[in-house]
């Protein structure tokens, strides 16, 4: 395992300590594994809490900040945080107007967040709503879209819900915006190499030196095919085709596009993918607004990329463009 760390056991806590030390203007850690926005949720504003396993920076913790999230509960690498930590994050995020729970559709996370919501509902009388992100088109067919896992599309939902909360929307309004963003996003990923979970000490999967896997998830969940590494344009074409098959778009449609590295894949390669994806959407008459190219939702040192589209209407576009900032992104 070639990683810069002190021990697998201290990996997450030392990471969070460094994160908060480097960016105290954004992140505070009032108790272990709970990161809250510095200064807290402004009074009367809806709080937004996310959470999930470590190893995906900037997801989840990184998106805490003004115009984005209020708090995050952090688990071990690729593992759910406990319901207790989530409940604590919810309490910290509560500014008196309730809290939206906005996170990826993974079994463990869902059970724990549900439990946490019950806990704060009973013990603290905090109203919560839940919106699950399930944007990965390769993880279930359209008829079972609710079973899909959440990947890089989370970033759009965080941004859009965060903007609606900053505007002063009530819990129902913020929840509606988050739901709309979640419904508007579709993602697909492809991987070239695995990554290593520190506590496991060995790669999450094995793949040939000249192979890629299309449709793979951010923890190495299996995709739809594995085969010889294709040329960048062919990869982009297939990804765009599969996204469009799931969410047909045409002339006059406006989307934002996120070309995301899973970690090791450098921006140079992302721009080569973006170049082609953009041309493909232009061919369809689809306009790309405020594209994102970079590392937004990762799997540590996994090599690969994902493409996410977020279909915009006037409301979503306005929310996407509203000011927001965290250590990893600024609008």
């Amino acid at each position: 395992m070639k990683k810069i760390l002190n021990s697998p056991e201290t990996y997450v806590d030392e990471m969070l300590e460094g994160l908060c030390a480097a960016h105290p203007q954004y992140y505070q850690q009032p108790e272990s594994r709970v990161i809250v926005r510095t200064g807290g949720t402004p009074a009367g504003q809806v709080g937004i809490v996310t959470g999930g396993g470590s190893g995906h920076l900037p997801v989840f913790t990184g998106y805490v900040g003004p115009g984005l999230l209020s708090a995050a509960a952090i688990g071990n690498v690729f593992a759910s945080p406990s319901a207790e930590k989530m409940a604590s994050a919810i309490r910290h995020a509560h500014g008196g107007a309730g809290v939206l729970l906005l996170y990826g559709n993974y079994g463990g996370d869902v059970m724990n967040f549900d439990m946490a919501a019950e806990m704060v509902g009973l013990e603290d009388d905090i109203a919560t709503t839940t919106v699950l992100l399930a944007d990965d088109v390769c993880s279930a067919p359209p008829e079972q879209a609710a079973k899909r896992r959440g990947v890089a599309g989370m970033v759009y939902a965080f941004k859009i819900a965060g903007a609606r909360a900053a505007q002063g929307g009530d819990l129902a309004a913020v929840t509606r915006a988050a739901r709309k963003a979640a419904d508007a996003c579709r993602s697909i990923g492809m991987a070239l190499t695995p990554c290593t979970v520190p506590q496991a000490g060995k790669p999450t999967f094995v793949i040939g030196e000249d192979e890629m896997e299309m449709g793979m998830g951010i923890h190495g969940e299996p995709g739809i095919w594995r085969g010889p590494l294709k040329a960048a344009d062919a990869i982009a074409d297939e990804m765009v085709d599969r996204l469009l098959a799931d969410l047909p778009l045409g002339k006059g449609d406006r989307i934002s596009l996120l070309v995301n590295s899973l970690g090791a894949t450098p921006p140079e390669e992302l721009y080569i993918l973006y170049r082609r994806a953009r041309a493909r959407f232009a061919d369809q008459g689809v306009k790309i607004v405020q594209p994102l190219v970079g590392r937004y939702a990762t799997s540590m040192e996994m090599a690969g990329a994902s493409i996410t589209l977020c279909r915009l209407d006037e409301e979503l576009e306005g929310l996407l463009k509203a000011p927001a900032e965290c250590a990893f992104w600024r609008v």
């Binding site: 690729f78 593992a79 759910s80 406990s82 079994g107 869902v110 724990n112 923890h219």
Partner: protein
């Protein structure tokens, strides 16, 4: 084995579970590695280890609650949370009592199954730990003696694994490997079997 379930029985059960879970962790990790993220052995062994560090009060319900909380804090992955949910449901049933007759075992398991189904939004027949708990509840119905309970549970565990082995998984991460899962035991069911074997020994 004492004539009734007490906090002392829970303490010795936890001790047996810690040892067994630690010994079988690699097997459970490997089974989960084939169909999920490979952490189930850690989940189970760290959950019971943490449980073994907690003070258990004489009230059997409160003792179950302490175990539930320990499991949740140490092992918040799916199986850990479901275990915590099961323990929590037992806490509700046993609250206020220092002795619980063994004859309630089947009912406790049935309650646990229902709570786990609600928590994980799962159904029976999807090849998960739910099917195992359900089978155990059925197999232990009407039994009142530890030895009989143990024998029935062991037999049910083996039978249930066999029954589901050649079906596809329909819940949790393993759902994504539905095809591949045919012929493989569900890791959560295996974990339940490991625990039953430890308690029945």
């Amino acid at each position: 084995m004492s004539a009734v379930l007490t906090t002392a029985s829970l303490r010795s059960a936890v001790a047996l579970l810690v040892t067994a879970a630690e010994a079988k962790a690699p097997i459970l990790n490997a089974a989960d590695g084939k169909l999920g993220d490979g952490d189930l052995g850690i989940t189970v062994s760290e959950g019971w280890r943490e449980a073994s560090h907690r003070d258990l009060p004489p009230d059997v319900g409160m003792a179950f609650l302490a175990l539930a909380k320990a499991f949740q804090a140490a092992s918040p992955s799916s199986f850990g949370t479901l275990m915590a949910t099961a323990l929590m449901s037992a806490a509700g049933v046993c609250k206020g009592r220092t002795e619980v007759p063994w004859s309630e075992t089947s009912a406790l398991l049935g309650k646990a199954r229902d709570a786990m189904m609600a928590r994980g939004k799962g159904e029976l027949g999807q090849k998960s730990v739910l099917d195992m708990v359900d089978a155990l509840s059925t197999a232990t119905a009407g039994l009142t003696e530890p030895k009989a309970l143990a024998d029935a549970a062991l037999a049910a565990a083996a039978r249930t694994l066999g029954l589901f082995r050649d079906r596809p998984n329909g819940l949790g991460r393993a759902r994504m490997f539905a095809e591949k899962s045919i012929g493989l035991d569900d890791p959560g069911m295996l974990a339940a079997k490991v625990m039953i074997e430890a308690l029945a020994a």
